[in-house]
C-alpha cells in the first residue's frame, strides 16, 4: 500500500460532503489533482503565459519550453522513440477520432474489417461505426469470456486478412479487465492490420511501454492521471503518422500557405492545428512528474491490493454482485457492482448522503451493459489517494443503502 501521506497533496480531499469526510471513489471518471499540478498551471498563467512557437520574446520562449518540455515528459512516460510521435490533443476521444478519420479514411475500404470488443467505451466504438458506414466496411466484435476477459483464441477467430484496424481498450472502465495488448498486436500485425489502443484507463495505473506493446497508436487522457481536463495524447508510430493527413487545418500546423495550396509542418505539429493546449500540456507534465516520483509499479501494486481488499469486503454483503474477473490480479483498481435489485442511482444517492462518491449508470459502455444483461451498474474506482479505510466506509454505506431499501426492492 502507498503511504496515506499522498492524500496531503490533494487539497480537494480535505472537505466534508453532506456532513461526512469525502471518500472519492470515482477516479475512473476523473482523478483528483495534486497541488503540484494545480500550481504548475497557475504558475504558467501567472508567470509565463504566451503563445508558443512564434514569440521572439522571452515569455514566448518560456511557454514553448514548457509545452515542448511536457512533450518530452510524455515521450519518456510511455517510452516512445521520439517526441515526433507524441501529439497533444483534447483527450482520448479526440485521439481515437483522429485515427479513424485520418488513418482510417485513407486505409479502410469497402468490405474491409475493423475489429473491436464488447467491452469498449463508446469513444472506441462510435468512431469505427461511423468509419465503417462511410466506407462500407464491416465492424466486428470479439466476444468476451464469462468472467469478462478476452481470450486470444477468440481474437484469432475474428481477425482476418481483411482486417485493417484492431482497436481495443487496455484496461476496462467497467470490468477492470487488463487486456493482453501485446499478444493481440502480434495477431493484428500477422494479418497486416494496425493495433490501436484505448489507454484511457491504463495510463494512470500502470507503466506504459509502447515499444514493448508494439502498438501502432495509443490514446490517453490527462485528467484521469492527476492532470487537467482538456489535454490528452495520441501516440503513433512515426512511419504511420508521416503518411497521415491532418484532420484539422489552420494556424500552427502549416508550413507554407498559398492561395490554393498549402503544406504542413513536420511531425508532431502538423496534427496540432490552432493555438495548442499549452497550460494543459504543462499540467500533464507536472502530473507525470508526480506519478513517476511515486512510481508506476507502486501505483499498480497499490491498486491491486485495494481492489483485492474491496472485493473481499464487498463480498461480505449478501446480494451484492461484482462484475468482471474475480481474480484481483487480473483487474485494475475498480469494482463494478449491483446491490440486489436496488437501482444503482438509488445506491449512489444514499452513498453521496454519507460523503461517498461513486459512479452509477452505464459508464459509456451500452453494448457491454447489454452483454452483462443489466441496464446500469454502480462503480467504485480507486486511485493513489484511496485507502482501506475508504473501502470500509464504502462497505458501511452499502449496508446502510441495503437496509434503507430493504422493504422497497
Amino acid at each position: 500500500m502507498l503511504s496515506t501521506d499522498i492524500r496531503k497533496h490533494f487539497p480537494i480531499l480535505d472537505q466534508e460532503i453532506n456532513g461526512h469526510p469525502l471518500v472519492y471513489l470515482d477516479s475512473a471518471a476523473t482523478s483528483q489533482k495534486p497541488r503540484q499540478v494545480i500550481e504548475a498551471i497557475s504558475n504558467y498563467y501567472g508567470l509565463d503565459n504566451s503563445n508558443v512557437h512564434r514569440g521572439v520574446h522571452t515569455l514566448g520562449n518560456r511557454a514553448t519550453e514548457g509545452y515542448e518540455g511536457a512533450r518530452e515528459k510524455v515521450r519518456n512516460f510511455i517510452n516512445a522513440k521520439s517526441t515526433e510521435e507524441i501529439i497533444f490533443m483534447r483527450g482520448t476521444t479526440t485521439a481515437l477520432n483522429t485515427v479513424a478519420q485520418s488513418y482510417g479514411r485513407a486505409n479502410v475500404g469497402e468490405g474491409d474489417e475493423i475489429v473491436i470488443t464488447y467491452m469498449e467505451h463508446h469513444s472506441n466504438i462510435i468512431p469505427w461505426q461511423q468509419l465503417a458506414k462511410e466506407k462500407g466496411a464491416v465492424l466486428k466484435y470479439v466476444d468476451l469470456e464469462e468472467d469478462g476477459t478476452l481470450s486470444l483464441e477468440k481474437v484469432r477467430e475474428v481477425i482476418t486478412d481483411r482486417t485493417k484496424i484492431v482497436s481495443i481498450m487496455y484496461v476496462s472502465n467497467v470490468l477492470g479487465t487488463m487486456n493482453p495488448i501485446k499478444e493481440i498486436a502480434e495477431i493484428a500485425h500477422a494479418h497486416g492490420a494496425v493495433m490501436v489502443v484505448d489507454g484511457a484507463q491504463a495510463a494512470p495505473h500502470l507503466k506504459i511501454d509502447v515499444q514493448k506493446l508494439d502498438c501502432d497508436f495509443f490514446a490517453f487522457s490527462g485528467h484521469k492521471m492527476c492532470g487537467p481536463t482538456g489535454i490528452g495524447v495520441l501516440y503513433g508510430k512515426k512511419e504511420l503518422l508521416t503518411n497521415m493527413e491532418p484532420i484539422e487545418f489552420g494556424g500552427e500546423m502549416i508550413d507554407f500557405v498559398g492561395l490554393y495550396e498549402s503544406t504542413w509542418k513536420e511531425l508532431p505539429w502538423k496534427f496540432e492545428g490552432g493555438t495548442p493546449i499549452i497550460a494543459g500540456a504543462i499540467g500533464l507534465g507536472a502530473a507525470i512528474d508526480f506519478l513517476e516520483e511515486i512510481g508506476l509499479d507502486n501505483i499498480e501494486r497499490h491498486e491491486h491490493e485495494l481492489a483485492k481488499y474491496a472485493m473481499e469486503r464487498m463480498s461480505e454483503i449478501d446480494g451484492l454482485s461484482i462484475y468482471g474477473p474475480l481474480d484481483p490480479e487480473k483487474r485494475a483498481g475498480l469494482v463494478t457492482f449491483n446491490l440486489n435489485d436496488v437501482h444503482p442511482h438509488d445506491v449512489a444517492t444514499v452513498l453521496d448522503m454519507h460523503g461517498i462518491a461513486v459512479r452509477a449508470g452505464h459508464h459509456c459502455a451500452q453494448p457491454l451493459m447489454k452483454w452483462l444483461d443489466v441496464s446500469s451498474t454502480a462503480r467504485a474506482s480507486f486511485y493513489i489517494y484511496n485507502t482501506e479505510a475508504d473501502v470500509d466506509r464504502l462497505v458501511d454505506g452499502l449496508r446502510i443503502a441495503k437496509e434503507y431499501f430493504a422493504d422497497v426492492y
Binding site: G19, H345, M353, S376
Partner: protein, 146 residues
Amino acid sequence: MSTNKLDQLYRSVIMDHYKNPRNKGVIEESSITIDMNNPTCGDVIHLTLQIDDGIVQNAKFEGDGCSISMASASMMTQIVKGKKVDEALKAASVFSDMMLGKGVDDSIDLGDIEALAGVSKFPARIKCATLAWKAMEKGVGNDSEQ
C-alpha cells in the same frame, strides 16, 4: 441528518408507487406511443397514450429505471388520465417548476406528485423524475400537431 435528507427524497408515497406502479403496461390500441431514454444513466420508458376528443382517455407505461423515475412515471399516468390535453400539459409545466424548486401553482390538484418536490434538492436526480413527463409532453404535443 443524512437519513433525514434521504427521507425527503424517498417519501413513502414514492416508494409505494415504485413498488406498486399504477397504470403499468401497454395500451394495445393506443393512439400514441413514445419511447424515451435518459442517455446519461440508461433509464428507459415506453409510454402509450389513448387520446380521444382532446382528452387523455388512458395512459400506461413500462420502463426500467431507478425508484424516482419509475414512481414519477406511475404518478404522471395517474394524474393525466381523464384530463384534457391542455390540462395535462399544464400539469407538466407545474411539475417542471416543482423540479426547479419554484413556487407551485396550487390551482391544480397535484395529488401524489407533491411527494416528488424533495427531488429538487438532489440536482443529479431531477432528470430521473422528469423522464416520464417529457415523454408525455412529447406524445401529447405530437398528437395536437396532427
